[in-house]
Symmetry: C2
Subunit: 219 residues, 2 copies
């Protein structure tokens, strides 16, 4: 446990720095200096800086996505022929992701990274994320649809989009909540955060759509 091998030292350090400053703002030399490894080790073990980023993300995201799918499958089995309840679907989606916040070692670091990655427009990274989410998205999209009978697919898609924004922002920028509003944020209490997020988004999903054209004048 004491001394980690070069590969994981690079991964850990890259994760921390990418999360703190962003992919472009961190150089390989920043990483190897902090990880105390040789510069060429990065290319030996990962091939390129971009591939290192993918490895950093995949290491944490893959177990999370597996947990998500397993949770959803279990909920489906329990529900039998009935559709899984909306709140339950959202919980399967959020909980595995926010659970890492409770781990003081990697939590704050990875939370920021994953939020950052979700919003990054690096083309390679986006393609990589698409492939990482290739299973999760259609599964949860279908579950959401089933839990919202009568809601048009287009509306479900838009509201999923809103939900994704709220989720990523909460994960990534929770510290801004304290900065802007003064309300404190306790990373260890991720269950309360998830509960709040579920309350908000579930109500959003169930909202009655207002008529397409807003009236110009009140009266």
């Amino acid at each position: 446990m004491k001394k980690k091998d070069t590969k994981t030292r690079i991964l850990d350090t890259a994760e921390r720095l990418f999360a703190q400053k962003g992919f472009d703002a961190v150089s390989l030399r920043n990483i190897i200096a902090s990880a105390k490894v040789n510069l060429a080790a990065v290319h030996y073990h990962f091939g390129s800086k971009q591939a290192l980023l993918h490895a950093v993300v995949a290491r944490r995201l893959r177990p999370i996505n597996e947990e998500r799918l397993a949770g959803l499958a279990e909920a489906r089995a329990k529900a039998g022929k009935r559709a899984v309840k909306l709140e339950r679907v959202l919980e399967c989606l959020f909980l595995p992701l926010f659970r890492v916040q409770a781990n003081p070692k990697v939590g704050p670091t990875f939370s920021r990274l994953i939020g950052r990655v979700l919003f990054d427009r690096n083309a390679n990274l986006q393609k990589f994320m698409m492939s990482e989410l290739a299973e999760v998205i259609p599964q949860f999209s279908a579950a959401l649809d089933a839990s919202l009978p009568g809601l048009a697919k287009e509306e479900t898609d838009w509201r999923s989009h809103f939900m994704a924004g709220a989720m990523a922002h909460t994960l990534c920028n929770a510290d801004l909540l304290a900065k802007f509003t003064g309300t404190q944020f306790e990373p260890s209490d991720y269950e309360t955060t998830v509960r709040r997020l579920i309350d908000f988004t579930a109500a959003g999903f169930r909202a009655k759509a207002s008529p397409p054209t807003r009236p110009r004048k009140k009266k």
Copy 2:
């Protein structure tokens, strides 16, 4: 109208490139090559790359924030002694921001930029954004509180945070909606987008909070 001066050519080009690739990923030489100006012109007119970014953001964000405050003031005046309705507050917050999407010239470009900026963790930029929003945040925060009688301030803060995430994600990554779900996105129809966003977030704000401790087992 034909030939713009150096300063605005730099601003326009920087806005486009920052939005496309991000602040760190774009070099001053990328900008001056595309804008067809001299490299030193950037420092002559703006002082530094960071200051250029601030100028790019401020040029569009300042009128938007003025419009937001004016809209809220007008709604307050109309409401008299009553509190402004939640949906109306949200409309004042969203509409000026999303209106730029309808402008095919700057819309897609600035939308991405502002979304990117809201999530960026560049310390200087964050300080700058705080000062740019110094008026808007407390005003709207107070209006939201007033429109949600009985909701604890802590809840309002969290839900404002969720709302901000949904807003930024929608503004910045609307194209992902098509990519992930297949549902098309029409930038010219920003009013429908805003209506959808208001429906979702207003319902989220009004959601009944579920009890703090989730039951471990169903039965």
